[in-house]
């Protein structure tokens, strides 16, 4: 009985796989601070169909939940690039990168060093 149920659940799982309104994905996005976090998450959430986006300053991981009938990962990634943040697969254009705030220039080694975790706290805004 239990097995049947599991099989049934797995079947529905595969059936809805291609039409998942809560599709989960994760990608690596470059950035350095809380301001970057707000910019990256906003760029994602402003994409129609994205319901949930959270980016970690420490790991650079962007976790997403989106309706894949309305959008896809490539579209979301494009939005992130447009906002000026590099992803694992692609670099943002120089124009886009130029729009990020001076303290968020994550490609710059000095800026990166500035945001290295200190004893006290991270990067307050």
């Amino acid at each position: 009985m239990k097995k049947l149920l599991i099989i049934a659940l797995m079947l529905t799982g595969t059936l809805t796989f291609s039409q998942n309104k809560n599709a989960k994905a994760s990608m690596e996005v470059d950035g350095v601070c809380g301001m970057c976090k707000a910019r990256i998450e906003k760029a994602c959430l402003n994409t129609k169909g994205v319901k949930f986006a959270t980016w970690s300053v420490e790991t650079h991981e962007l976790k997403l939940i989106y309706d894949d009938r309305k959008t896809d990962l490539a579209t979301i990634e494009k939005q992130v690039l447009t906002a000026g943040h590099d992803t694992k697969n692609a670099k943002a254009t120089d124009e886009a990168y130029a729009t990020v705030h001076a303290c968020c220039k994550y490609r710059d080694e000095d800026v990166k060093d500035d945001h290295k975790p200190k004893e006290d706290d991270g990067h307050g805004h």
């Binding site: 994760s26 707000a38 959430l45 319901k51 949930f52 694992k88």
Partner: protein, 745 residues
């Protein structure tokens, strides 16, 4: 995690010439079974080199000696970073993010934190802050907080009342884990029925607050989170003794029942059996008391399925005796032999909480709370008898979700309350039943950076208050760095329990009069008020150290109020407000971390609280116009063995306060128009020997300030001018205490 690093360190040579690294990512589980995690991200930190695990959790990655940090992450799991010194086969268990105990915070947290990001003006008080005032229950927990005023205990009940924005505690919604708890019959002494060691943290919301917890709050909301079986110490013992011969004992025992169930037993006892009369007025300066307070909590947690639940059982027995030194209850009760009073309270409580968070969709959750309490107080004060029985039932169901994306959150649900009151006031019986059904909806918007807004509305149908709408709105705007401008407004409505909220009236010779008769509650109308608030928080650096400053302005306007009129010294009159009643409060607060480990908090408050009495518009009696507050705390650096010292001192200054009029009294029983100013100092030293053991020593009212004549007509307690309600300062003078805390994690 550490073991993996060590294991890896053991095999540095084997894979020397390898230029790939491979491994398997597994889902952590209690049975340590190998459950491969498919689709996890594995990549080298700060590189573009990464991969995703296959269906069995396996992965393979290029390796270069300059790659040191391998990041493994997966939605719904804690991200781990491994230090790799040489390539080898990696086997890593990833922990689900819901395992709360995995979180460690290194930097020193502020013990009282104001949020820069929330729309409501919320002050979070952590358990560390609560330790600054070692004694003993919730009412004393606010002594180091400038937003809450703690008044001086009167000689009869010995309990302290709190005020917020210049309004007394009935206007504050006081909840325990979001279930309104100190209300109705427990209003007067309820704060002393929550032992301090049970409190994990307190959230103080100034102003209207959320609509989720009901319609009653007017000045603000105070929520108390209690310690939880899963996270509290396995064993905790706290002993306290004071020079007044007050003794307290707290014991917590927490155990794990199985994978999902945890339980905790929390026992509190306090006793004080020594008679004090420092001011030689023939009356005890503080009551004799005995309290037993027991709580049993059951916590259920299933992170995989997303279920959490709490079941709480509470029992309280509290006995107080006070009055003249020679008073003997057996022979003198309700006689004129000696004036005396006894207050016996017994309370049973059961509450449950059930929550479901969809593990697939983190924003979707359902919560159901229910609580039942039975509260019985039997008491007499001289020849006055006051008994109250209050049975209360509360149920609240909340659904959380989002609209389109996680910037637009909604909360909606239904609530039900039932209250049955049965009171005996001397010879008159008052009985009433209240019930209400309500629905609420709260929307919050967060644009992630500069702005957020919470707007809520509820509609309630109440058998005595009618059908009414309660709107409440909060907004925050941060135009520049470390700033937060907040604004709020909201409405509150409640039925005033005139006797239990003003119980001190029984310790007087005043005649009780209720001047209206048309209303549903003792003949009086419900109280209705609007609260408007504005605040500005700014963080900045001063000489390279962190500081913040807050400016608050709040206004409470009563549309109707049950006026408690003490202005005739032979009477106490209750009547519906005719005219205006308002409370304006302004507060400026500065927090500054002067140097490592040394924190300073100072505040100035201004109150303008006035009511149109039948006679004229007057300042609310015993409400100081100005208050200055300062608290300094110093902590030495933590040594290797976990030992350190903590020092703490709190200073309070209150401007003069208006006495209710005594001009109708014979001259020897007349008081001046205003009280003197009051300044008090409390201090405490804690020596932490190890994470397991600490002792503390402290003093209250160190400058030994005393109000010399707290009881009017003490020489003739059954005469027409006896009154014990004119208390503006400490009665007992200075008091010293010591205690210890022992815990096993």
């Amino acid at each position: 995690m550490k073991q993996i690093i060590y294991t890896l360190l053991l095999f540095p040579i084997i894979g020397f010439s390898q230029n790939t690294i491979s491994g398997i990512v597994l889902e952590a589980n209690e049975q340590n079974q190998n459950i491969g995690l498919a689709g996890a991200n594995v990549y080298w930190l700060n590189t573009e080199v990464g991969t995703v695990t296959d269906i069995d959790g396996n992965f393979k990655l290029p390796y270069k000696p300059e790659y040191k940090k391998l990041v493994i992450s997966y939605v719904g799991f804690k991200t781990d970073t491994l230090t790799i010194n040489a390539p080898s086969k990696i086997k890593h268990w990833l922990q689900p993010t819901d395992n709360l105990d995995a979180v460690t915070v290194k930097s020193r947290k502020q013990t009282t934190a104001k949020s820069y990001y929330k729309s409501a003006n919320v002050i979070n008080v952590s358990s560390d802050e609560l330790l600054k005032a070692a004694c003993c229950n919730l009412s004393e927990s606010f002594e180091t907080n400038p937003s809450i005023d703690v008044n001086f205990a009167d000689a009869i009940s010995g309990t302290r009342q709190i005020k917020m924005l210049g309004l007394t505690s009935p206007y504050i919604l006081i909840a325990t884990e979001n279930i309104p708890s100190i209300r109705g019959a427990s209003q007067a002494y309820g704060l002393s029925f929550i032992p301090g060691t049970w409190v994990e943290s307190i959230q103080i919301t100034k102003g209207a607050g959320s609509v989720v917890n009901g319609f009653e709050s007017i000045a603000g909301q105070i929520n108390t989170e209690l310690v939880k079986p899963l996270t509290d110490d396995k064993l905790f013992v706290n002993l306290y003794g004071a020079t007044s011969e007050r003794l307290e004992l707290n014991a917590h025992i927490n155990t794990k029942v199985d994978d999902k169930w945890h339980t905790g037993l929390y026992i509190h006892g306090n006793t004080h059996n020594k008679k004090h009369d420092v001011n030689n007025d023939g009356f005890l300066d503080m009551p004799l008391f005995n309290q037993i307070n027991v709580m049993n909590r059951w916590q259920y947690i299933d992170t995989k399925k997303g279920f959490v639940s709490f079941i709480n059982l509470k029992f309280l027995n509290d006995e107080k005796q006070t009055g003249e030194l020679n008073f003997r209850p057996n022979t003198d009760k309700l006689t004129t032999n000696n004036w005396g009073s006894e207050i016996d309270t017994r309370r049973y409580e059961i509450s449950t909480k059930f929550g479901y968070v969809n593990p697939e969709i983190p924003w979707q959750s359902i919560g159901v709370q229910t609580a039942f309490s039975s509260h019985k107080q039997e008491s007499y004060f001289g020849l006055n008898v006051y008994d109250i029985k209050h049975n209360s039932l509360y149920a609240n169901a909340i659904y959380n979700s989002i609209i389109s994306d996680s910037r637009h959150k909604i909360k909606t649900g239904l609530s039900y309350t039932y209250d049955h009151y049965d009171e005996l006031v001397n010879t008159t019986d008052y009985e009433r039943t209240e019930n209400s059904v309500g629905a609420f909806f709260e929307y919050s918007f967060d644009n992630l950076e500069l702005f957020n807004l919470t707007a809520g509305v509820r509609v309630d149908h109440h058998n005595l208050l009618g059908t009414f709408v309660t709107p409440r709105v909060h907004a925050r705007y941060s135009p520049w760095g470390k700033s937060a401008f907040r604004a709020s407004f909201g409405r509150g409505k409640r039925s005033a329990n005139i006797f239990t909220e003003n119980q001190q009236l029984f310790s007087t010779s005043r005649q009780i009069n209720i001047l209206n008769s048309g209303g549903n509650i003792y003949g009086l109308d419900p109280e209705i008020a609007w609260n408007y608030g504005f605040s500005y928080l700014q963080g900045f650096n001063l000489f390279g150290r962190k500081a913040d400053m807050t400016f608050d302005f709040y206004k409470t306007d009563f549309t109707n109020q049950v006026v408690v009129d003490w202005e005739n010294p032979q009477e106490i009159n209750f009547y519906n407000l005719d005219g205006k009643s308002f409370a304006n409060s302004f507060q400026v607060e500065l927090n500054y971390n002067v140097f490592e480990g040394f924190d300073l908090r100072t505040a100035y408050k201004f109150y303008d609280v006035k009511t149109d009495y039948n006679s004229e518009r007057l300042e609310r009696p015993l409400t100081p116009k100005h208050r200055i507050f300062a608290n300094v705390g110093y902590e030495t650096k933590l040594k290797e063995n976990g030992s350190h010292w903590k020092f703490d001192a709190t200073f309070n200054w209150l401007s003069n306060q208006r006495y209710a009029s005594t001009t109708n009294n014979p001259t020897q029983y007349q008081l001046p128009d205003r009280t003197p100013t009051v300044a008090t100092l409390n201090a405490q030293i804690t020596k932490v020997f190890s994470p397991k053991f600490e002792v503390y020593l402290g003093g209250e009212n160190i400058t030994n300030l005393r109000q010399s004549n707290p009881i009017l007509g003490a020489d003739d307690p059954f005469g027409a001018n006896f009154d014990s309600t004119f208390v503006y300062g400490p009665i007992f003078g200075s008091m010293y205490y010591a205690g210890l805390r022992y815990r096993i994690k």
